[in-house]
Structure formats: C-alpha cells, structure tokens
C-alpha cells in the first residue's frame, strides 16, 4: 500500500518537472541585478508581448560573471556594468546586436553614449541605467565639510564613517582625489592612491557594501560612501532632508549597466522585444521613478513623477570604470590586498 503512494507521488513529481520544461518558446530568461526592475513593469511586458519572463537575480557583477563562467546556462539577457561588458565581449560571451530591432535606442542620451569606452558604438550592449557611488552625510550630526573626498581624512569622525568594500570604488576615489583617472595603470600613481587610502582607513569603521545604509539610517554611521538608492530606501520621505548626498568635486568612478544578449541565448527575438520595451520612454520613466535615479533616456525624463536623488548633470564629473586588463588587475589586487590585510 505504502509503495503505491510512493509511486504516485514520484509520478506526480516527474509530471510537474516535465510541465515546467515545456513551452520554453514564449519565455525569456533574464539574469538581472536584484531589485532593479519593478515587478509591475515585468508584468506589463508579459501582458503586452505574451512572453513569460523568468527572472533570476544577482548582487554583484562578480557573482553574475563567475556563475556564467563556471557554466551557468539558460539565460538570455544579462545586465553587466561597463567593465564587465568589455570583459564579456573579449571572452566571446555576448552576441553582436541587430540595432534594427531596437529602434528605441535613439531615446538614449548621446552625451552619455559618447563617453562609453567599454563598448564603443554599442555593438554588444544597450545602456540601461547609469550612476555612481557618492558620499552621504548625516547633516544632523556633521557640519563644516566641503564636498570632497577629504571628508574621510577627518579623524574627529573616527568610528562613524564607512567606505564600500569594493576595490575599484576605493582606489578609484583615491585616484580621482589625486587628479588621476579611475582606470590609471601607473604603479607609482597606485602607490600614491594606496597611501591616501591608508590615511582614510584608521577613520573608517569598516569597508562595507552590505549593510552601511541601514547603519547610516539608524544613526550608527554619519558619513558613508555608497549608492544613493541604497541610502534613501532606508529613509522615510519626511526625513530625506537629513541626508546630504553628494559626488565629491574631484570626481568619482561611475557605472553604466547595460542589457546584453548572451551568445548561447535561446530566445533572441524575445530578448530584443524586452530590451526595446525597456527603452520606451514611459517604461524607462517608471524604472527611474522606482530607483529614484536620473534616466539616460532623454524623453523619459519629462515623464518622471519622482524627484531623483541626484541630477543627470551631476554625473558629468564621473568617469566610467573600464576593464583594467589582466596585468593592471593584478597590480590593483596587490594594492587592495595590502590595504585590506595591512602591511
């Protein structure tokens, strides 16, 4: 009797598994940053196109890239940042795009597109959102500072400041502070940058990319380096005035996240439809409203209903992070390891 039940259950399981496999024709497998596209936008796309979107999410470029590199298959679209776009192009992981299928590409801001070096001419990637990590200051606790990276030199704020646990962001900040490029490959410049960070480090509580925003909103940290969207989401709108979010005057590393179609994608037509849909002004505006970020999509800006955390023009002093290449990456790693481990 018992065995019969078991067989029935096993059969049911197999049926369920088979059922979930069939009909992959009207599907799109999207591998995207976590909390990047609001649920209702995806639903609207499904309704309009009849294509089912299966979303899987990641929290860092590294996570996404290493999963794909280790043989992760089945995704159609990924959304890497610029440096990873060029790494993935060089690795032969991306498809060359047919621009005829993405007419809404024309909506993107040419001034932003012209600054792209990771995929000049956008042959493999379609820009989606751009932004940068900046500095957030709790105005109720800290005063008498200028909008500069030198705020991290203030030892009276010792134990109240954090910076991102991110090699490119930290070294990029230090390089910009010294007047160099965020992609500088000169060992002497990197050594100077290391000394700058060593000066900041004793004033920092920790290098943190996970929970700094919660600590900032809770009054634990007063000055944090990080993404504006992470910080504002922890606050009630009535308390927004307590936050001073700024990009240091020396400039900062900047990201551009772009849609790419993977070489082994199975649902290429659906992928084009989705990318074109996401570049439609009304949709781009909804995403920007949700993230409270300025849009690189020009007609979308007029349709936004939320005031973004910063203006598109503020990004002018930023510089896109590019892939460093294997040799320079080793150099950066060594410098970063010395900072993290101590000398």
């Amino acid at each position: 009797m018992k065995r019969k039940y078991f067989t029935a259950i096993a059969a049911a399981c197999v049926l369920v598994l088979l059922g979930s496999c069939s009909g992959s024709k009207d599907r799109l497998y999207l591998y995207n940053w976590i909390y990047y596209i609001p649920e209702d936008v995806i639903e609207d796309f499904q309704k309009e196109s009849g294509i089912r979107v299966v979303v899987d999410s990641y929290a860092s470029n590294e996570e996404m890239y290493n999963k794909l590199l280790a043989g992760g298959k089945g995704y159609d679209i990924v959304v890497p940042s610029g440096d990873y776009v060029s790494i993935m192009i060089a690795g032969g992981m991306l498809q060359r795009l047919d621009m005829g299928k993405i007419p809404n590409y024309a909506n993107l801001d040419a001034s932003a597109l012209n600054r792209i070096r990771f995929d000049t001419g956008n042959r493999f990637s379609i820009p989606f959102m751009m932004g940068a990590a900046g500095v957030s200051v709790n105005k109720t606790k800290v005063s008498g500072y200028e909008h500069s990276w030198n705020i991290f030199e203030r030892n009276d704020l010792n134990g109240r400041m954090t910076m991102l646990d991110d090699m490119r962001e930290i070294l990029g900040a230090a390089l910009k502070y010294l007047g160099y490029s965020v992609n500088d490959s000169d060992p002497a410049h990197l050594e100077e940058a290391r000394l700058v960070v060593e000066e900041w480090k004793p004033n920092l509580v920790k290098f943190d990319a996970e929970s700094f925003a919660r600590g900032f909103a809770g009054g634990e940290f007063w000055v944090v380096q990080g993404y504006a969207e992470n910080v504002y989401i922890e606050y009630e709108p009535s308390r927004y005035s307590e936050i001073d979010f700024f990009f240091p005057k020396e400039g900062m590393p900047m990201y551009m996240d772009s849609f790419c179609i993977l070489k082994d994608a199975e649902n290429v037509e659906a992928a084009y439809k989705f990318i074109n849909f996401m570049l439609r002004p009304d949709i781009a505006a909804r995403v920007s409203d949700y993230l409270m970020l300025p849009s690189p999509n020009v007609p979308a800006r007029a349709l936004m209903t939320v005031t973004p955390n910063y203006q598109f023009e503020d990004l002018a002093k930023g510089e896109f992070k590019e892939d460093l290449g294997a040799q320079t990456l080793l150099l950066y790693n060594e410098v970063w390891r010395r900072i993290r481990v101590g000398n």
Partner: protein, 283 residues
C-alpha cells in the same frame, strides 16, 4: 564468504560522496596548479605560482589572525558549553532545555547576526542602557572589531558545542563523582580528575564542531568585523570573485583543508587513542 547487503545499502551515500565531495575536491586540487585565466577561470600551463603567492607574508598575517580568532572563539565556546552541558545532563527538564538550545536554529543565521548589530551598535540597546544608567556619555564602540567577531562566533557555534557535550555527560555515571568525594577529593578535583577525563570524547567532538567552521567563517567577520577583521574565508571569496584569481583561491582553500585534516588526525592520535582503546576493551 558472503558479502551481505552492506555495500548495496551504502552505495547511495557512497555515490553521493564521490560526486559531491571527492569530485569537487579534485577540481580544486587541479585548479590550484593552473594559471589564472585572462578574465577569470583557469588556463594552462600547470604552475606552482598560486602556492608561491601563499608564501607572501601578507597571507601569513591573515592565517595567524584567523587562527587566533578561531582558537579564542572555540575556547570561550567550550568554556560556556561545558557547564551548560553538565547542567542539562543533571536537570530534570532535559527536553525543555534541549529545545531552548535548538530554538535559535529556527531563525535565519543572518537575522541573528543583525540582531547582534542591533544590540551592540553605537545606537544599540546596550549603549542606550549604558547612557540611561549614566555609565557612559559617548557611545562605546562594541562592534566592528575582532572582539565583536569572536563574540558573535561564540554565540553562533555554542549549540554545536553544547549538544555533543550534553550527550556525553548524559552517559556519564555520576555516582563516580560521589565515589571520588567519598575518597577525599574536593569538588573541583573530582570534576578535573574524574569527570573531564571521562567526557574527553565529547570535548573533542565539540572542539572539532566549533573550530573547523569558525576557521572558515565568512559572514560574521564580514558583517560585524572592522577594517582589521579580515579572515581566510573573506580572502578566498575575494580572490575568487573580485581578483578573479581562481588558482589562488583554490590553493588557499586546499591549504586550509590540509591543515584542518592534519590537525584533526594529530588530535585523533593523541587524544583519540583513549576513545579508540575504550571501544576495543568493550569488544
């Protein structure tokens, strides 16, 4: 000679172990001898570069720091777990106490770490209390240092030490303690000379159950550690993801595996002979 059904019964777990433990381990061994790929991954030729990189003194610093934190955390865990296990074994409410030890497992591990952040933070409960009592004006910084990492590790792995200790002490014949007292031993002597040697196996298991996972800790130092609480687990993760140096990450994990295996074997040799002998006597 009839072989019996043993092998047939053991085969599922044998296959499982082969595929999901031995095969990945072999991949790690292989990767550690390869060259890092231009964009992550691994490439030929075979090289010892990853092992040469480990010889770098900055790694030694992380290893020493990790061992120090792991030893301290294990020591305090055992120190707390021993009396707990003893009390539980003697108590008439064993089931209730066992349940209390297990209850924290019902809550996600990360949430429990964040609970510690809420307690120990600059604006946390403990600092609020100190200020309310007038014991502190400025908030005291409890978090984001090695002590905080050790404390949260002790908290996290305490149940893993209490459970094996409890089960060993529970089997201990407490009349032996009375006999020791009758023969003139002080309470402390009776515990040291009669109880502790008899529960050595439990202490040994508790040590392994706490030291090994703590040695590879990743999330705790990441969340409650400061700028100087970098541990081996964090180093491996960074080498694998941020530095895109898979051979180095493999080599470090392999060295950890080797060191822990050798450590366990040595401990078994010196400490465990006693346990093994006892089994033989019974047989």
């Amino acid at each position: 000679m009839r072989r019996g059904p043993g092998l047939a019964y053991a085969s599922p777990s044998l296959l499982w172990l082969t595929f999901f433990f031995i095969a990945p381990l072999l991949i790690i061994v292989l990767y550690s001898f390869l060259t890092p790929g231009q964009r992550g991954g691994v490439d030929l030729p075979f090289t010892l570069n990853a092992y040469r990189a480990i010889a770098n003194p900055s790694f030694g610093k992380v290893v020493v720091g990790t061992i120090a934190v792991a030893l301290a955390a294990t020591f305090f865990t055992l120190l707390i777990a021993l009396p707990c296990g003893y009390y539980m074994a003697r108590s008439s409410k064993q089931t209730l106490l066992l349940l209390l030890v297990i209850i924290p497992f019902w809550t996600n591990f990360l949430i429990r770490i964040y609970a510690w952040i809420a307690i120990l933070g600059n604006e946390g409960f403990l600092n609020d209390l100190l200020r309310w009592l007038g014991l502190a004006e400025e908030s005291v910084r409890f978090l984001y240092n090695r002590a905080a990492v050790t404390l949260v590790l002790v908290y996290t792995y305490l149940p893993y030490a209490i459970l094996p200790l409890f089960s060993t002490i529970d089997k201990f014949d407490f009349s032996l303690l009375e006999a020791a007292r009758d023969l003139g031993a002080t309470k402390f002597m009776a515990i040291r000379k009669v109880l502790l040697p008899n529960i050595r196996a439990g202490i040994f298991t508790a040590f392994l159950f706490t030291f090994i996972p703590i040695f590879g800790a990743y999330a705790v130092p990441l969340l409650v550690g400061g700028t100087n609480s970098y541990m081996l687990g964090n180093l491996i993760a960074d080498e694998l993801t941020k530095s895109r140096n898979w051979p180095l990450a493999s080599a470090i994990s392999l060295v950890i595996t080797l060191v822990t295996t050798i450590g366990v074997m040595l401990l078994l040799r010196f400490n465990g002979t006693h346990i093994l002998e006892k089994k033989h006597e019974k047989a």
